[in-house]
Amino acid sequence: MFKRTTLLAMALALVAVSCSSNDAADATTLPTQATTTSAPASTTTEAMESRFPVTIEAGNGAVTVEARPERIVSISPTSTEVLFAIGAGDQVVAVDSLSNYPPEAPITEMSAWTPSIEAIAEYDPDLVFISFDPGDLIAGLEALSIPVILHGTALSLEDAYTQWEQTGIATGHTSEALDVVSDTQSRLVDAVESIANDAQGLTYYYELEDVLYTATSASFIGQVIAPTGLSNIADEAPDPDGFGYPQLSQEFIVESDPTLILLADTICCGQSSETVAARPGWGSMTAVTNGGVVELNDDIASRWSPRVVELLDAIVEALSSLVAVDG
């Protein structure tokens, strides 16, 4: 679908780009979507992968990796998944306690919420991936001359792709990272195409927690679902913080009567189609009586890793069986 040469050129551009601000949002401004028609590639994959040092523009500003990292520590479950997906798993020495995928990841007791600089430093890492800095983590690691890449919560698919590509560049797996991106793009497109226009006019409610926190179309997951044509019932909610995660009123959800109820709280909060059906007032909802309650894997749903495809596949599958029943 996408030309390898084009992607390589984009990746080179990525390496070269350096912005003045170190705002996390900068990552979104990078040119990542391989939509241009063609560009000359002057280097081979081999030549490029061995080219260190590299500098990438991460959430914490320009980060230079001097040599191919061999002792990577990831205290971000998403980064862990990405590292393994792009073939950098062998270079990872330790991951945080929530990095439960893939199973071969070297999981430790390290906390992603309250990371300890000493605990990280003990693994003698040559590169550290984090998804947020709770305090002085970045400053502390930099003081120890350990390069840190901050890849914060992706606000869009483009954001996620940028991060995956940067992860590839920083670890010497650029071409694999580009493959993962293009593969993800095409699988998302395939999933959407498989349901054609069946979802037009249908609605969904996406549940993050059993106290009815949801995600709007502005959220990362909302953007993943949007191409299906499903509309999100939460979109009419005012969203003062702008991140797309409001808490809805129960009676509003029941009244909206969405076609699909997508549960991204099956692990955290033990929700299932049975618990939803048992909620007071929910029993008569269309999704409950029609089998439109979809149990998703919260872990995938809360990350922005290549496994996002599985999430969309599950939604599409539920949708197709619903449409098949109706038809």
Partner: protein, 350 residues
């Protein structure tokens, strides 16, 4: 204190009537207003259709009927129960401890419930198929254990069993339990959001099962505290004065604290830690009416229920269909209102 003000001792019937009317109006408003657009007539007809022998046909379809009766009504009723209980318990704590800053969480009920809830969320078994939800049970037990610890600690202090030593014991226990809860919450960081959601307090997913769960406690404890409101007047004068009247101050304290705690633990178990109600309502009643607990306790019961139902209406309509945490509303709306009452008061509180 101005316990000697003769006019403030008796509870005039029109105050009770006014407060009851206010409660009725807020409950009806709570039933009528909500994010789902259901016509007032629909709600009225649906209500009348449930009264036998009237033969009124409900004009609502099944779903609208479910919204009103399975979602909105239990929420309003639970709001009344939680608001009333916290307010009555708050007034009892203030009287027992002769301390205007006392609230139902003073002796560690809040911290204990928080720890219990965190334990249940972090280490509780998967209870999806269980008959009872372990979370409210753990919060309830936590609240009782917290206060019991504080009481035992305060009771065994060598210098004497006064209200002050009990408060200090409560402060120590609450700090300890909160620290333990924070530690667990950080250790089991994947439970962080659920724990925070619980601590902020809400009536969001209240159903009739929660109402049934707390109703006996709220009714029982409120009846006892209202019945013993005279004892609160005696206690608020001082331990030695109470002794001269032939009463046992520490026994009475245990009795009143016990019932206030039992009720608080029950409502906290289903609604989380809703702050500010237990302080603001009794004080507002005190400033607007009388300093006598014979007036404060029953009026707090009625007005506390109205206050929380009103706060909940705000919580679910201001940003409809999004919810605002109810604790935010009670403080945001309650604090300025309380400031106005405080400025206008004529120094009834000494």
């Amino acid at each position: 204190m101005n316990a000697g003000r003769p006019s403030g001792l008796r509870l005039p019937w029109w105050w009770i009537a006014g407060a009851t009317l206010l409660l009725l109006v807020t409950v009806i408003a709570g039933a009528m207003i909500g994010p789902a657009s259901i016509s007032p007539w629909g709600i009225i007809s649906s209500t009348l259709s449930r009264i036998p022998f009237l033969n009124v046909e409900s004009s609502l379809d099944t779903r609208a009927d479910d919204i009103v009766w399975q979602i909105r009504m239990p929420r309003v009723v639970l709001g009344v129960l939680v608001g009333s209980m916290l307010s009555v318990a708050g007034s009892a704590y203030q009287g027992v401890f002769r301390n205007p800053l006392a609230d139902p969480y003073l002796l560690g009920a809040g911290a204990g419930a928080g720890l219990g809830a965190t334990l249940a969320i972090a280490y509780g078994p998967d209870a999806s198929g269980w008959f009872i939800d372990p979370l409210p049970l753990a919060a309830f037990i936590g609240a009782i254990v917290g206060v019991a610890l504080a009481y035992v600690l305060g009771y065994t202090v060598r210098s004497g069993r006064t209200a002050v030593t009990l408060i200090l014991a409560g402060v120590a226990v609450a700090a300890f339990l909160t620290a333990l809860q924070t530690f667990l919450q950080q250790r089991e960081s994947d439970t962080l959001r659920e724990v925070y959601g619980w601590i902020l307090g809400s009536l969001t997913t209240a159903g009739w099962s929660e109402v049934r769960l707390v109703l006996p406690y709220v009714v029982g404890c409120s009846v006892v505290l209202v019945a013993f409101r005279r004892l609160l007047d005696v206690m608020s004068v001082g331990d030695s004065e109470a002794s001269t009247l032939g009463l046992h101050p520490s026994r009475i304290r245990l009795l009143l604290i016990g019932f206030a705690t039992l009720g608080t633990a029950a409502v906290v178990a289903v609604s989380g830690l809703i702050g500010f109600v237990g302080i603001i309502v009794p004080h507002t009643v005190r400033l607007m009416t009388s300093a006598s607990y014979r007036v404060i306790v029953p009026l707090s019961l009625l007005i506390g229920g109205s206050f929380l139902v009103l706060a909940d209406i705000v919580a679910r309509t201001v940003q409809s269909p999004t919810e605002i945490p109810i604790g935010v509303v009670t403080a945001l709306v309650g604090a300025p209102f309380f400031a106005v009452v405080l400025r206008r008061s004529k120094g009834i509180v000494s």
